[in-house]
Assembly symmetry: C2
Homo-oligomer: 432 residues x 2
Amino acid sequence: MAITIHQAKDAKLASIKLAALSSETKNNALKEIIKLLRAKSHEIFFANKNDIELSEKSKLGLPLIKRLKFDETKLNEVLEGIESLINLPDPVGETLAATELDKGLELYKVSCPIGVIGVIFESRPDALVQISALCLKSGNSVILKGGSEAFNTNRILTSIIAEACEKVGIPKGWIQLLETRSDVTEMLKMDKYIDLIIPRGSYEFVRYIMDNSNIAVLGHADGVCHVYIDKNAEVNMAVKVAVDSKVQYVSVCNAAETFLVHENIASNFLPVLKKNLEKFNVEIRGCVKTLKIIKVKAAIEKDWGAEYLDYIVSIKIVKNTDEAIDYINTYGSRHTDSIITSNKATAHYFMDLVDSANVFWNCSTRFSDGFRYGLGAEVGISTNKIHARGPVGLDGLLIYKWKLIGNGNIVADYSSGKSKFIHKKLNKIYSK
Amino acid sequence: MAITIHQAKDAKLASIKLAALSSETKNNALKEIIKLLRAKSHEIFFANKNDIELSEKSKLGLPLIKRLKFDETKLNEVLEGIESLINLPDPVGETLAATELDKGLELYKVSCPIGVIGVIFESRPDALVQISALCLKSGNSVILKGGSEAFNTNRILTSIIAEACEKVGIPKGWIQLLETRSDVTEMLKMDKYIDLIIPRGSYEFVRYIMDNSNIAVLGHADGVCHVYIDKNAEVNMAVKVAVDSKVQYVSVCNAAETFLVHENIASNFLPVLKKNLEKFNVEIRGCVKTLKIIKVKAAIEKDWGAEYLDYIVSIKIVKNTDEAIDYINTYGSRHTDSIITSNKATAHYFMDLVDSANVFWNCSTRFSDGFRYGLGAEVGISTNKIHARGPVGLDGLLIYKWKLIGNGNIVADYSSGKSKFIHKKLNKIYSK
């Protein structure tokens, strides 16, 4: 407990200096991290082997052990990610707005780091490297808590990153590793030192974090995504997109869980859909009306809004687009929802009224992802209604400050009427 | 209790439709509000007289009764505010980014309303009209809770606004008024329906809201602002700005509470400052070093970080700019802090390292305000580190959604290598 608060204070202190670092220093640090991770790769692999052996002994499941693995391939992937981060422009110090309040009184809205980011992730040690690099590039301190099964790997990765950064003059303490579950409980209370928490993991896990902290949380608990097939859909396109949304990768948040089908197109669409889903052994659970058209399992109440993350899909026939929208806004998780239609007005109506981070027209829900969106780097996917929504890139780790530069200006002159504001927009970049 | 949840659900339902309203409909509603408030002004003033009489009977303080007053002057001010809001461009539907992911697959990041805003304010009924108009313009539903002493005024204002909006086709239920304190307790738990809470009021009040809700809160609890007089300050300018920061309006959040003075300039600066503060009967509380230069009251530990909101100021002599920055980051409230110096490098160093929403150079802390910043309309001042910081205009009531428009595109084609992302930035505006 005592350790955690010191770590948080150290991270906060470091974050102040981190905010003022030059792009060059931050990129040098990223280069040094690449160098040192490569140089010490055998130590990392050794630590990872240790973790894996311990996990096998305690009979952890195979998928978990697979995620835990940190080998040459994973290392190369991670280093490639850092390389591309070096090539991105510095997101800090960007002029977002500039206004001349009066002659010689200039206001600048300038992007800056948020401060201290708490990241809680499960199993995958590569996430530790990736997220630390993102925080460094954006000038944020980071407090990390990984899965306990990756204990040895996380420890050596953190110490290598810290060592590389110290070499090039990054303020000490900017990266902190928590190692016990009780540390997390402490962390959730530290709204004085931690400005944002990014939890990555299961629904229960993220929900727990959201419900137990006053600190802002960026992320999503679940991904209950829909494809709505409108009466004006082209059947072949609808089948192709629906199948991709469901089966291209079933265990991820942007996979579809429910198809909503307009009653006018159901008898044409459903038999073709069924045939194509069966190729992937997808279990179909249909509403009462669906059962009258295709022979599938009957859906029960708890199928609506369920996140299967598996080769299962539920199908509901709706009367019109409004019913589809209401259904999605009621049972969805505000993540990603797609409409298939050749009617432009219906498409825009759907995209305006569905209250989700990602609203698509004639394409697969699986596209909602930072890499596919071309964001360069992904911090996570957020279903928040404030700050950042959908796939979040580096800009999710930034806020701004207002810098006002005057020459002895006082407010009394304006309230007395002696001076008047001009509020002229400036096409000027803030520079030191 | 049962009533509150119904109100929240209604507000949520209305918010979905509100998001898709045309600029014209929203502006028509604002015009209708102006018309109806004018037409029914006597009913409003009568209700307000009632509230004032009741408050006088229960011996409420004069300042509170003054804030409670809603007369011709207040009405005109409020209507002027709505007029200027009509003239502002619609903040909804703005294209924030556009990317061609592939030929015929276009991604748009488009601004949209947040959804349902909860606003809790004290006494002033004009705040109710102002905030409702801001929410309407930005397409958000609003749940309002005013001071109980303004019960009658708030009730009639809300019913007039609702009536005007219904006339021009704004979905019913978008504006809701809560009337009891227990309603607020219920409201803080409704993270399913309310997306953002804006509390306006005292430190204890805002702090209570922040500590007792999982819903995001936009605002500030306190405003502990500083002026740092560097060794390279011009004494006359420093005195002028310091005095304005302190006395121009003492009871507001952006008034200065503490002056930090570089030790090299203290003996020149402090005597002149003292003379000028005495003109306004400001009580000065100095640190030990200050007492050696000017004869003032001794500051005690709890003066550091105190928000006086009164004709009182504390003064601390510091060794250098770093000590000033550390002091501000420790005792300040991340609101507004100003440096007075003729040294450009020192000024930029200060503005980079002081972790506040507003960092100023050679001007009064009193400038941090939405009107003075030229934001057009002010939602509030935020000391948050995410979403919106400093004076917040209409854009604080907005978020964005990602709209992806394709032609049957599926992810399988990209993961198999058949198709490749091009991620080309588009100079294109999203249109229906």
